[in-house]
Amino acid sequence: MQLTLVPAIERSPRLLTAAQTLVGRLVLIAIAWLLLVLLNYQWPLPTVAALALFILWPQYRREWLSLATVGFWLFGFQWFGEQAIAEQLQLFALGPAASAVAPLISLALAVLLIGGIHALLFQLPRWNIRPLAGAIILYAVLAILASYAPLAEPWRAVLWLFLIYWSRFFWFGAYTLHDWNRPLPGRWRQLSHALPFWSPSDIPYPKAAAYLQRIEAKDAEAAAVSQLKGVKLLYWALWLVLFTALFKATFYGYGELFGGYVRLVRDQGELLLGADSWAVATGIVIPQWLHVDDYFRTFDYCAVTACDDSWRNWKAIGARFIEDLLWTAVMGHVAIGIVRLAGYNALRNTVNPVASRSIADFWNRYNYYFKELLVNLFYFPAFLSLRFCPPWLRMYLAVIFAVCFGNFLFHLVRGIDSTIRYGVWDAVWEFRTFFLYTLILAHGIFLSQYINERRRGRKSWLERRIATPVIVLGFFCLATVFVDHRRGTSIESQLKFILSLFGLN
């Protein structure tokens, strides 16, 4: 008998049949709740209450999704950037009663306005303009007006409020605008499926309303398969959370489980498992040389000293990279696990990135839906419009457009707080080191695609098993040095850190 960490339960005919019965569905709901609690998910009970509707009455799936999503907009208002909204609303000097309802009224008005703007943008193809290009230009114009135009204060606040909301909906709307000439769900459904209840992320998991309709389960058996795969993914996320805690305890000295109720602590070289009032020795001894300092503390120390401890720096950047991989995997698995439980058989966001065959493949495996966003909305449109260029130049320009411009724009829209605080130009300037990262990433991806295409998969065992993983993981590990959204981090200090890794300073 073969033991696997996460068994393929969706392939068991008995479980598939059971999952379609009333008792089986109730068990699925209970397991989903237990897993979300163990995963320390922010809203396990409301989420499972919503999932219960999907699982028990799947014929109303689309209606449940609209209802659950709008419900989460209202009750999980922090998804929209609660503080930024409150700061803008303060300028209206509202009374206590008006202050209480103002965020909801502003949200409702913003959603209506976004719907109206989209209706207008859908007319742009008449003039051979892509609706998404129109949305980007309009967003930029409004942000510039709010930053620099001599507007009276309430009007500026109204503009910023609208941009705060639009920023959160922007990429969901972008998918809808991208699908302008296909059969789309109704306007209300498009809006109420945006920023869905399963994830507060700006990255549409898994894309938007039209895509959801394409991947939803068409019968009871398909729904059962999707739901069992959802349970499996949440269970796998739990293993990754356990591994993350063990990883952090081993290298940083402290790891948490179940929202901090259980802790793993390295004490005098030994790993202890415990809670507030108890602790037991695990018998696992961690040598001191494995200790890793926090990356940002190490980086800051390097910036102001001779920075000659390359081993310390390698450990810090390596640990940050692994921690980031694990975090992205857990976050994506939880979101897609809930998506699948709702009856939408979506692909996973992260699939074994350490097995990547190339730099481009790593990106595909590490953060699939973000890559899809850039590919669908930027890469292919650029590639297709450059048909008169030689193939390699066409590919190069499309990669630059997607990975530099698209990636940069995504982060700028997401960082609307910075734009409000500093104005458009200063916010863009703050992202300069991130822009360098996108340039490095784009060239890495292009070279990876170009070389792979020329070689058409002819690689020796040594190249496949040793050289490729070292190059791919090493590339991303080093590139993340340029991903630092703290204000004031300079390119010079980042270059100094990278040089220090190779004993150069």
Binding site: N128, N364, Y379, F380, P381, F383, L384, R456, G457
Partner: protein, 84 residues
């Protein structure tokens, strides 16, 4: 070589390079099932452009239209009929 055979041969080669088996049915999902990725679609697009002189409109292009061999054949046939 006809459209279907040419596309099938090209896709089989891609699947082999991806470490997959070259077997697939005409209506079998290749993109949504993650057997092929967006980069593979890019090369399929270039193959269609070079072999059949069919160019896709960037305003209406959709990655998932390339999900199955049957869909790709229809795309090429429509493209030839439109004179694109």
């Amino acid at each position: 070589m006809d459209i279907r055979s040419s596309l099938r041969q090209f896709i089989e080669q891609r699947l082999l390079e991806y470490g997959d088996t070259p077997d697939f049915d005409g209506d079998e999902s290749l993109i949504l099932s993650a057997r092929l990725d967006s980069l593979a679609v890019l090369f399929i697009v270039m193959h269609i452009e070079q072999e059949f002189g069919v160019y896709f409109d960037e305003l209406s292009f959709e990655l998932e239209d390339f999900d199955t061999l049957d869909q790709m054949v229809v795309l090429v046939e429509n493209g030839l009929n439109d004179g694109r």
